[in-house]
Subunit: 163 residues, 6 copies
């Protein structure tokens, strides 16, 4: 797991250099913000593009751009908060709002950057307090599905063995 | 700030010993869960009881008990997730649901156990993505109010100087 | 308390006769639906008009009319569910949605038609399960406020003594 | 597209005459409100009844009646706001609340009365601001599905060619 | 139907005796709370365990425990409110929050303990007022599905005839 | 009122020229996006800065920047949807989500760019259908407050007479 953390940190560091993060924020171009967003998604998604984002580019190019430049490029690449905590806080917010499909995507990112299954479960359990049991239970079901998919994908790899 | 972390960790550790956390969970009495909840609230609230919880005891004793035994005693004292991350995830959930008053209470707890103002601001900024700008802006206003209150309280103490 | 139930039931019965409920529903005029809504509000509000509804008539006559003809005249006067259960279900829905001000109004109606304070408290406590603790706690605070106002009003009446 | 606008406007005009809209609102019968609602649904749905509404008539006749007489007959047929703006505002509200299935139905109505695909996409993009990215993205996916279905239906018509 | 009411009431009474409800609440162990929760679920679910709860025990044992000990054992077994009213209020809350799947589960419990189909329909119709038409319509569709499933299950029993 | 429309349209046109909207979107700098956002807020707010936004700049500079560069500069300045429709759709979304304070701000902008009071009232009335009566009533109260404040401000101007 430590390996993933290192990879993703390096990916972000490289991307930030490339996107010229050192220049004043206000002189950044949207092209640079998009590149930073692309680097963030790759660091969160094991180097692969995000399927739902790619589908959006066809019919909703400006919504896809906002997701990439703003949500990922501006928000998700902010300093001052480590990536694991931001991901767990996002998981809590998606679960509390009753958005289990989005929670599932971000729980996958969280696992990719080294968050443990147990930490995700604790955050989902905590959601019973601010948002009630249905939202927490729906989130737990989405996480169970995610974990099963990842185990299935792992066991299909040559030499892959489930943990 | 590190001082607060240590205090609170010690407080929880002492409480858990006292409440017999080492015994099997299912043999715990509600009395023990209430004691653990009380220890949690004191560790989060600088040793003081939580005013809203105390008011609830009069007319809603069972809701107050559920808050103390379940929300604080069962959920907030869980292992496997550090207290700072749980608090930041809770802040994200309260903000995303449009509950700025509850977010403010938990942001205060977060500050008490060593979360920085910057970390809280990053979580609130992140809330624009899952929940939109009104919820994030309302949370930012509640946090500004909290920070002002804490500065005012600090400057009224003998010898107190705002940071 | 039984006195209130009888009064309100009689009030509704008289109103329904007056509004011609026995005619086929589809031949009712909006005038008749408004009269039935007015009878419902009087039976729920101790014979007095509802202040917020009256204020709405000035600038939002059609929203006031929809509230009176549809919400009160059509929905609240339906048979097949006793009025106390409908009121408690409405209190649960308003509390779960995070609308404590509307919950407070309907909790007052519930008390007026004979629902006990304890029943209201149990419904609010139950709301922790579907909707989490902030919504239930906010509802408990609105109910405490309502009960205090009613006690204050009662003690100001000549010969009035709080229960 | 202009063709649809004209048809629908004429449909509403005829229906209003038929339903006696010129008489005082309070003397309207529910029968007249239902007829107006039926005319509205036909003008929005290319002359066809709304399948989900028809299914509701069996087990939930009073909910179906409320939808037809109140939501469609009272609200959707109001003057003072053109139908296209009301439809776009409704699309925004359904999307912001996390109800993509209902948004899809009303986006279809909007297209039927001459709203352009681009206008719908702009409203959905705007939803990121009040309600966050998940709600806007879910709405964009529902709209993409709707547009694909309409293209498929069009290409299956004899002589039909997708735009 | 009266049969179900009696069974469930007796089931709860027996369970409460068994769980030692007469002892002071604060000396209850979590084991006792879990047993009370199990008795509640059996009384609501015709003696059978709840499938979704059972699945949760594998990966989310503490969320399953909280559901059983807190939601069912503490909240659902409270005195002062009859079980039918609590169930109808819960149905209203789940429907108003946009959680039709959870509403369906609790509507099934409600039918099992003697609530009539008509009462459930009236509560769902009422939800249009606090929460709007999409939430009420989605709830009506979930209830229609539940009723169809129950009729299908009944007609497959030897000698079973739909009502 | 036509005067305001013209002014605001011209303001936006000038700003877009200034911000170089004609260049490819991806080469825009954040500085340019901020300038466009500033032009949008001035065109919506009668040339004055938005007080809540200004307060945010102190403690939440990046949230203020996101509001100005993304919400106003990117979303609110989009072509393909006229500004009045976007404003009315935003009013519907804020009202439906239970955010009357934000709805009030945007209703003020809508009035400033020529939307009529009647159009705002129709949108708020329509909100009963997707979101229920409490959200629509709360929005109607916020609008009434806004209209009273604007009348009071107008009558305090030298020579000012309320309409």
């Amino acid at each position: 797991m430590g390996f993933h953390i290192h990879t993703s940190c390096r990916g972000i560091a490289v991307a930030l250099l490339f996107a010229g993060f050192s220049t004043a924020a206000s002189s950044q171009t949207t092209q640079e913000r998009l590149q930073r967003g692309e680097a963030v998604i790759k660091s969160l998604n094991k180097g692969a593009p995000q399927p739902a984002l790619e589908r959006m580019r066809q019919e909703f190019p400006f919504l896809a751009e906002a997701t990439e430049a703003y949500a990922l490029g501006d928000v998700w690449s902010r300093p001052n908060l480590d990536n694991r905590t931001r991901q767990l806080a996002a998981v809590a917010a998606f679960a509390a709002m009753g958005e289990p499909a989005f929670m599932k995507i971000h729980a996958g990112y969280a696992l990719n950057i080294g968050v443990s299954e147990d930490e995700l479960k604790e955050v989902i359990y905590m959601v019973t307090v601010p948002a009630g049991f249905p939202r927490a239970i729906a989130a737990s079901q989405a996480l169970s599905q995610l974990l099963a998919e990842r185990r299935a994908a792992l066991s299909q790899q040559p030499g892959g063995t489930p943990p």
